[in-house]
């Protein structure tokens, strides 16, 4: 990554912070205290740091998937739905299909099932694109609603806990839970997995012939067709990959963090993942710091309410500033 590539994302973050400070001032809060609380809530002690790392995992997976899709010119806006599809099927495997299996078998199966479900959900959009020419922007957005409502239906119906009290699934058996990393309370093995996979995506995208084809299609579908690449085939491939990563994020979330499925499982990871990818300028390795930033914002925002007394709505506005500026400043210039 060239140095110039770093300027825009850093400028975006600084601009968002400056505007946030101004907003806090206008509201009569002390920006130094408030932003200090944000940092403290994200990195201040062990619990805070672990909370940030746990929130980073789904953003890494989805952000890496989005960056590879956007590089290929495929606008997959369906990360949220693919995450829910993955979480749903992972929960079904863990609580209904194989609740008695051994951990060595069950954890990988749960994760694979989630990834497969997410890939399938992305694959539906791919099928509509290939078969009917439906823009993936539309189909992936609409598939989000179906998956979110599908989870709502499942936890009120077939996957609801046997006691029937809450609209939520039964707790995962211990053998279906991702193990915690040694010495940590909340950081599960999925966080490591989520840190490794963007590297794999980077190798795929920049160090392999398949990645060259993907990028060629993103730069110019016409030219790549002359070069003997089928753009639609690459579209399908990339939707399967990014859908699979988002589905894996859903499986990691239920298996590593919540231990069960319920409505509103994701605080918008699928959409924040897009902002992560854009802030990373669609670079799979840039996703690592970008995801860390958004995870820190999310976990630090609670501390801003608790310590600095900043209302929740203000915190949401500040998060929106970062997203706004990362989209505005950090989008790679096309034809530039």
């Amino acid at each position: 990554m060239r140095r110039a590539e770093l300027v825009a994302p850093v400028a975006a973050i600084l601009a968002a912070l400056a505007l946030s400070a101004l907003l806090l001032l206008l509201l009569g809060a002390n920006p130094v205290d408030a932003l200090g609380a944000l940092v403290k809530g994200a990195f201040g002690d062990r619990l805070a740091l672990e909370n940030t790392l746990v929130r980073m995992a789904p953003l890494l997976l989805i952000g890496a998937g989005i960056s590879i899709a956007f590089r290929c010119g495929v606008w997959n806006i369906g990360g949220e739905g693919q995450l829910y599809a993955g979480a749903l099927v992972a929960t079904w495997v863990a609580t209904r299909l194989l609740p008695g299996a051994e951990a060595v078998l069950l954890v990988p199966l749960v994760l694979l099932a989630g990834a497969a479900a997410g890939a399938l959900w992305g694959g539906i959009a791919a099928g509509l694109r290939v078969g009917r020419g439906v823009s993936e922007v539309l189909s992936t957005i609409l598939l989000n609603f179906i998956a979110v409502l599908g989870v709502a239906w499942a936890v009120h119906g077939p996957l609801q806990e046997l006691s029937g009290a809450y609209p939520q699934s039964d707790t995962f058996p211990a053998a279906a839970r991702l193990p915690m990393l040694p010495g940590s309370l909340r950081v599960h093995a999925g966080v490591l997995l989520a840190m490794v996979l963007p590297v794999a995506i980077w190798i795929l995208l920049f160090r392999s012939a398949a990645g060259l084809r993907l990028r060629a299609v993103g730069l110019s579908p016409e030219a790549s067709r002359y070069a003997g690449i089928y753009p639609l085939r690459e579209t399908v491939r990339v939707l399967l990959i990014s859908g699979g990563l988002a589905g894996l994020a859903g499986a990691v979330e239920v298996s590593g963090v919540t231990g069960r499925l319920f409505e509103n499982l994701s605080p918008g990871y699928g959409f924040t993942g897009i902002a992560v990818a854009l802030l990373a300028r669609l670079h799979p390795l840039g996703v690592l710091p970008a995801a860390l930033l958004f995870a820190a914002l999310a976990s630090g925002s609670g501390a801003m309410q608790r310590i600095a007394g900043v209302p929740a709505v203000t915190v949401q506005v500040i998060e929106a500033f970062v997203i706004f500026f990362s989209v505005g400043f950090a989008l790679p210039r096309r034809n530039g």
Binding site: P167, T258, R306
Partner: protein
């Protein structure tokens, strides 16, 4: 493109080199005199001066009082209902007991746990989790911090430092169900819930039981939004209930209930009930009554017992008899009710309050 001396002459495209030069000059501030960068730099300076000059007047930073109380709510405290009542309770604790207070809106079970743990770790003596859904997280954290008292408003889990405060809103919704069935033309009543949790389902169960006691053949439709905040979904769901034949409706949906009152106001030919606070003003033409809770007084009472060291962990049940639960009638609409219905409702309220009649509720 007015960069002063290096401005590009009109009608001629600048070469890339020329543009770069113009930009570099602009950044150095040597271009012309009119469009210097300096004014911008000085405005930045003003911002920073403000930022560091006004550090004295924070919004409400970390309280330093000896007695400190915190509140976690499941959604916005501007809902004119369940959460607003709790926030008012927190402010009342601050006012009457001189406590330092803090609040956080929490949406997911992980946030519940992080919030409880963080407040307890920083030495808060009392933390409220406002709703049934906070129980599991409160029980987990209560075991780690024995010196902090945790109160969940609703629920049943009791630990040495954790107790539920149960508002018997069912006592009011039972009476409202009775009245609703008595005046319904269609014989169908509607309930709109936020998230399907036992404490909310229980208020509807009592509403239905009250309705059946007036008219055994009445039917009650229940619809859940899966959210405490989705106003648009609440409006759609309410319109759907009305078009399916419900002409008397009650909600228990927190901030989303704005959509409920909007839809009811549009439909006109219906009667609706508010919940958790006097909401009659939200749609005065159609809101017959509200099942109210005096959360602030209840909060102050429990906070006082914690402050004085008198707190004993046991379920705190509060109902009509304690004056914490109540029914606030909307006078003009109440006056339109048939005489017999008005009398029966007031008699029923008296029987429940005196303990003569026990309202059915979900066992949780």
């Amino acid at each position: 493109m007015a960069f002063g001396a290096h401005a590009v002459p009109p009608g001629r495209r600048a070469s890339i080199a020329a543009r770069k030069r113009a930009l570099a000059d602009m950044l150095r501030g040597v271009g012309g005199t009119r469009n210097r960068v300096r004014p911008r730099a000085s405005s930045c300076g003003i911002v920073f001066a403000l930022a560091f000059g006004l550090t004295a007047c924070g919004a409400s930073p970390e309280p330093e009082a000896a007695f400190r109380v915190a509140l976690l709510t499941p959604s916005s405290i501007r809902d004119a209902g369940w959460n607003q009542g709790a926030y008012e309770g927190l402010l009342k604790i601050k006012q009457e007991l001189g406590a330092g207070v803090a609040h956080q809106e929490t949406r997911t079970p992980q946030e519940f746990e992080v919030g409880f743990r963080d407040f307890a770790a920083r030495g808060y003596q009392l933390v409220f989790g406002h709703g049934f859904e906070f129980q599991d997280a409160a029980a987990t954290v209560a075991a780690e911090y024995p010196d902090t008292v945790f109160i969940t408003t609703s629920g049943s889990i009791v630990r040495p430092n954790l107790a539920p405060m149960v508002f018997e809103l069912e006592q009011a919704t039972y009476v409202l169900g009775f009245v609703g069935a008595s005046i319904s033309r269609t014989g169908q009543l509607g309930c709109l819930g936020g998230i399907e949790i036992p404490s909310v389902a229980s208020t509807f169960l009592a509403f239905e039981a009250g309705a059946r006691s007036a008219r055994p053949e009445v039917s009650v439709r229940v619809s859940y939004l899966g959210s405490w905040e989705d106003v648009a979904a609440a409006r759609e769901a309410t319109l759907a209930l009305i078009s399916a034949g419900s002409d008397v409706l009650i909600h228990n949906a927190d901030a989303a209930a704005r959509g409920f009152f909007q839809a009811a106001g549009e439909a006109g030919e219906v009667r609706v009930f508010g919940a958790n606070r006097n909401q009659n003003e939200l749609a005065p033409a159609v809101t017959l009554a509200s099942a109210t809770l005096d959360i602030p007084s209840a909060f102050v009472e429990v906070a006082r017992s914690v402050k004085d060291g008198r707190f004993v962990a046991r379920p705190i049940r509060l109902g009509l008899a304690d004056g914490v639960v109540g029914i606030a009638w909307n006078p003009p609409l109440f006056a339109q009710l048939p005489e017999a219905v008005r009398e029966a409702a007031q008699q029923l309220e008296g029987q429940i309050s005196s303990g003569e009649f026990e309202v059915p509720r979900a066992g949780f």
